[in-house]
Amino acid sequence: MAGVLYAREEPGKGEGGRGVTLADLLAGVIFAALNAYAVLAGADFGGGVWALLAHGPRKERQRDLIAHAIGPVWEANHVWLILAIVLLFTGFPAAFARLGVALHIPLSLVLIGIVLRGSAFTFWRYGGETDAEQRHWGVTFAVASLITPLLLGTTVGAIASGALGEAGRGKGEGFYPGYVAPWLTPFALGVGVFALVAFAFLAAVYLTLEAEETELREDFRRRALGAGVALFGAALLVLVLSGTGAPRVRAGLILAPWAAPLHLLTAGAAGAALVALWRRRYGAARVAAAAQVSLILSGWGLSQYPYILPPDLTVAGAAAPVATLRLLIGALALGAVVLLPSLYYLFRVFKSRTPVAPPTTPPTPPR
């Protein structure tokens, strides 16, 4: 491999000096995009999990509700991931290159999951003429929705664990140590489980707001409460595994000055979500659940800083030249002017309670 070419004339010097550099700012934006992906698209994956687990007398209505909730928004939600990826490879090419090599296998599997989930969902909604065909796509969609978050979480766990250093990068130590060992660890898999439970929790909470009938709402309220409790369990599991799996993150989460307030906030949000669910205050539950997941992700991001890929690749060290960073941030500002109002409109049309319209079937041509 002739790794002779590097686009790093003045690596990540940002504006120079201390304080927040352009690279930090861009890393923050990428993190925010990932956070949005988790809170929005995560719930779409979680919806698939509930479609898989649908049971009881209202099984079909549960599935219809899920499909109806995901339909208009899942593609827009999915783009947060693409945005994070293109910003990563433009702004932090060294990190992107290293991720692509060390996490080739789980990322390829994530991609297969993403492809199957998206297409199966579309085929499910637009597809089958027969019930059997419909069921077939529904199951594919649901299984892909289960596997993808697991693997996505595993890649995040692999990053956090610090296994993607220069040393662990396919350096003639053979296939397993270079391409499998970094992510096939109890800690990384634990994070995968955690992601899955968190997404299912978010989905159940959001679905309580989507349901228009009391019984259906109660179905998802029970699921949300169950998933909320399971999330505590998963968090505990990750915490225990981090002792050996991700010492750096663990140290950050315990010792850093921001640690205690963050934990308090997270616990507060988690408690609030459960209480709100219990008291059937679904709007409040939605806000609290999204805040809880965002805060947990923030804990990961903060504990890892200043490294983009611990233990040796820093945000500054991986950053693109300043000319690129400046333009990129400018483009982000412009893009936000277009995107944010559009997103607001999308969610106002489909996710606000006020314009109560029947399920969106297009007007049928008069016969």
């Binding site: 002739a2 070419l5 208009p72 490879f89 991609l111 492809v115 297409s119």
Partner: protein
Amino acid sequence: MSDLLAARSQMGVSLAFHIIFAVAGIAMPVMMLVAERRWQVTGHAIYLDLAQRWAKGTAILFAVGAVSGTVLSFELGLLWPEFMRFAGPIIGMPFSLEGFAFFTEAIFLGIYLYGWDRIPPRAHLAAGVIVALSGAASGVFVVIANAWMNAPTGFEVVQGQAVNVDPLAAMANPAALPQALHMTLAAYAATGFAVAGIHAMLLLKDPDNAFHRRALAIALIVGGPAAVLQPISGDLSARHLARHQPVKLAAAEALFHTQAGAPLTLGGWPDVDRRETRFAVDIPAGLSLLAFHDPGAVVKGLDAAPRDEWPNVPAVHLAFQLMVALGTYLALVALWTGWRAWRGADLAHERWLLRAIALAAPMGFLAVEAGWMMTELGRQPWVIYGVLKTADAVTPMPGLIVPFLTFTLLYCFLGVIVVWLLYRHILRSPEILEWRGFYMPVKSRGRGKGEGG
């Protein structure tokens, strides 16, 4: 199969698959909008049915396009980490802009598809317009990034490192305009003729079917002008190649020797060892005329580059010839159609014309694939022309044949299903008896016999 070849094959398959959906995703919304607008103006239900079928088609194609596009954005790093390490900061900008355009497209497509009875008709149409515009913009941005690989600008290499990186200069590379123009026109021509071809086929069996008549007319309105303009943009591309990518042009034309008054070589099989093209028809000075608009101009041949920097000449030549032949056919059929429509003929009863259009159905997409092969294979062995070789950009990961076969199988499977769904939901004649008739029924604005739509 070597890992390099497997990586190239996986990227090739991913692109060949995605490009179909990207191209359809650019042009389908335009057809759907024309139909919706016709519905709003005429109040006729056939147009609403068409708009909704095409919207359904757009939904299916867009979903598969979105996920296969995601695969590509990751594959840049999974397969070509060294390329991205070098090129990311220089050419990431158009990818980021594409991200925004794509985001806008996804948002408004959601609004369009699910908002028929939730927002006012004007807002609905406007959402569709935004989908069409942002779809075209995404395509342009991605092609600009590809153009940079062909004609890299906006940086200098000093001791193996890129310095003085200027992303705007990289976007303004000399290949950007010709490629973006050529690809965008190709999207409208290929999709328009694919849809028109299928409805022409159905009209051959059932010429009075009002549904297929309207569908044919709208598809031709979208595809026809683009097909006629495409040769002009092709000329622009050829002249760009002659100046900036001489090796690619030489391979495409199977021109082994640099010469003044270079001939245009039609067909034939390039024999690389003997450095001559056998069984070809040569048009004297044709290539010089096309490439420089001067019959005496000197055109660089393959001998201008060292032998180890030649692409696979027969493959590039073949792909290029195929693209040109198919594109020419589409342009001629479009002209024929335009002439007959201008003369007031009822297209649905022009059986020979319908046959020609039906034959054109797959040709636009084949031309797109051939053109893509020509531009990508023609750049080899470089991934960034003259700067970074493909072999130096590939991942060190072994066993790449496994992901290559996996994604190939996955895409074959999806391709079959998409074709089946499109046939069943979009193209099959509607089960509405009165639409089988020649005349536009109820509420139509008195369009009479002899006007195809």
